[in-house]
């Protein structure tokens, strides 16, 4: 964890109610699947948001306007300075990915897949991606992933773009590993579908957070290894650690 001040250098819509915010400043070394925790002025708790892209001089996030905090964020002008905790959480581990891992993003769960794909490509691997959204208006991130040379399929629930249905309706025949981030029903469906073929995977979870750095036990989940903190031991968990029964929908 690092506490730092980052400056908004871009804050633009990329889909319906979804914005991309570029933040500049020394943000520490961030790996894929990690998140930052943003202090939104006037709000008591920070807002946890996944890192979409990271480089030496800044971080990019993609966020959806859900309630007051993200609405405030959507109105932030270039030059706004934000108090941010960075390098949070235990992100995706690329070591077990094999040569052809599959990246599955559901809605805003697509956001962390870009930095992950970048790292996998950098390691000479050949990731593919399936991104699921509700409708064509909600789609973002596909072109960016394609530009890395990743083979990307898009699904929409209403069929307005790409394959009609869910990400599980567009899974390729073969893949070496799964990286998933999205709503619980989606991740669970992916988990169930990949159960029989023994494909390993890592799944990124969300939780209401008090601190985001492991102090309050607000974000606990039960895993096969006992109680774990989503913010510090996660948000990414390996499939063998996951106990679905205790997760609320």
């Amino acid at each position: 964890m690092e506490k730092t001040v980052l400056t908004v250098i871009e804050n633009v819509p990329v889909a319906k109610d979804v914005y991309k915010m570029r933040l500049s400043g020394a943000a520490g070394e961030t790996g894929p699947g990690q998140f930052i925790n943003i202090a939104v002025p006037g709000r008591f708790l920070r807002r946890p948001i996944s890192v979409h892209d990271a480089c030496a001089d800044g971080i990019t996030i993609i966020y959806k306007v859900i309630g007051g905090g993200t609405e405030d964020m959507s109105r932030m002008e270039k030059g706004t300075r934000l108090d941010v905790l960075t390098c949070l959480g235990n992100g995706f581990d690329t070591a077990p990915s094999g040569d052809a891992p599959l990246l599955l993003g559901g809605g805003l769960g697509t956001a962390p897949m870009y930095l992950l794909a970048k790292k996998l490509v950098c390691e000479g691997k050949h990731p593919r991606a399936v991104l699921g959204f509700a409708s064509a208006d909600d789609v973002f991130g596909a072109d960016e992933l394609s530009s890395l040379g990743v083979d990307v399929a898009v699904t929409t629930v209403d069929g307005s773009l790409g394959v009609k249905g869910f990400v599980t309706d567009a899974l390729p025949e073969e893949f070496s590993y799964v990286y998933a981030c999205g709503p619980l029903p989606m991740m669970r469906a992916v988990y169930d579908k990949t159960k029989t073929d023994g494909v390993g995977g890592q799944y990124s979870f969300e939780a209401r957070m008090g601190c985001g750095f492991g102090a309050c036990l607000g974000c606990s989940i039960k895993t096969t290894g006992g109680s774990r903190r989503v913010c510090r031991d996660g948000p990414v968990f390996r499939r063998e650690e996951i106990i679905w029964e205790t997760r609320e929908g």
Partner: protein, 306 residues
């Protein structure tokens, strides 16, 4: 005059370098925070509420945001006293070299006593903070700390098994907090700490249901400061033992206010969650705040508002 000496205060016969005590449940067993700064700058800290048996705690969501505060429903998640002794305290001792405050929870007088006995051989423990007030856990309905007799029973049970200072931590969710403080003092409590969280609720407008899985939880943060100050003020008038004041403290000015109300030392809870450096920064800001309000030594203002 050097600044360091101006901040010292005393709590049940043990001198603190300064009055700042991260509150139980917001500071773990210290070692997470020790990654960020040297936690030996603290007066002491109160470690995570420990019970006889391991507890997973309440279902999630456990956290809700409020204007100027938060609700938590962690539900005393902890690995149980034996795991605390075996795994947590060794890690704590590596990064913290002052007496620490052991926060103890329980569901019967016997359980509190069991936990204190199990901890009593640990030299690093300077005080026990007996949490009779956690609103998240209901043993047969009422909270121990909402009743003078039940509070007295727990205090007595713990008093019997240790020679170390026993501080009883009170709930604000009561009609007359001073009466409960007096009941604890009468059974040999060496100090009183207050306040624990206020019972609260938030409702999600989208789902139209409570945000917290357990529906209610403990409300704390800056919004509760006036309630905490009132409670500390009332208890100071009612008892002779020292008070650890807490509830909504997030600045050096709040610390001074809490001590004027009657606190000998000051707990800081939710502020640590928003900013992991909160306690360090408050300690650094204290000498300047004392200058600003023409205060020489901080211990001279305890109860000054009375």
């Amino acid at each position: 005059m050097g600044n360091a000496g101006r901040l010292t205060t005393e709590l049940c016969g043990i001198t603190l370098d300064n009055p700042i005590i991260p509150a139980s449940g917001t500071f773990g067993f210290g070692y997470e925070f020790a990654e960020y700064y040297d936690i030996n700058c603290l007066g002491t800290f109160s470690f995570k509420g420990t019970t006889k048996e391991p507890r997973f705690g309440n279902p999630t969501p456990r956290i809700a945001e409020c204007p100027a505060g938060m609700i938590n429903s962690v539900g005393l998640q902890n690995p149980g006293v034996h795991a605390v002794v075996e795994h947590e305290l060794p890690r704590l001792r590596e990064c913290f070299h002052k007496p620490v405050m052991a926060n103890v929870g329980g569901f019967s007088p016997g359980e509190y006593a069991y936990t204190v006995e199990a901890l009593d051989g640990e030299d690093c423990i300077g005080w026990y903070e007996i949490n009779v007030s956690c609103p998240n856990v209901h043993a047969g309905g009422a909270v121990t700390g909402s009743d003078c007799r039940a509070t007295a029973e727990v205090t007595r049970a713990v008093r019997r098994v240790t020679k170390k200072p026993v501080i009883v931590k009170l709930s604000p969710n009561v009609t007359d907090i001073a009466e409960i403080a007096k009941a604890a003092e009468a059974e040999g409590a060496d100090g009183i700490s207050l306040i624990n969280t206020l019972l609260g609720m938030r409702i999600d407008l989208r789902s139209k249901k409570p945000v917290i899985a357990n529906k209610m939880g403990g409300f704390s943060g800056p919004a509760v400061l006036p309630v905490a100050l009132r409670c500390v003020y009332q208890v100071y008038e009612a008892v002779k033992v020292p008070i650890v004041g807490m509830g909504g403290v997030s600045s050096a000015e709040d610390v001074i206010e809490m001590m004027l109300a009657g606190a000998s030392a000051v707990g800081v809870g939710a502020a640590n969650l928003f900013d992991p450096y909160a306690c360090r920064d408050i300690i650094e800001a204290l000498p300047g705040a004392l200058d600003k309000y023409r205060i020489g030594n901080i211990r001279d203002i305890i109860g000054g508002a009375h």
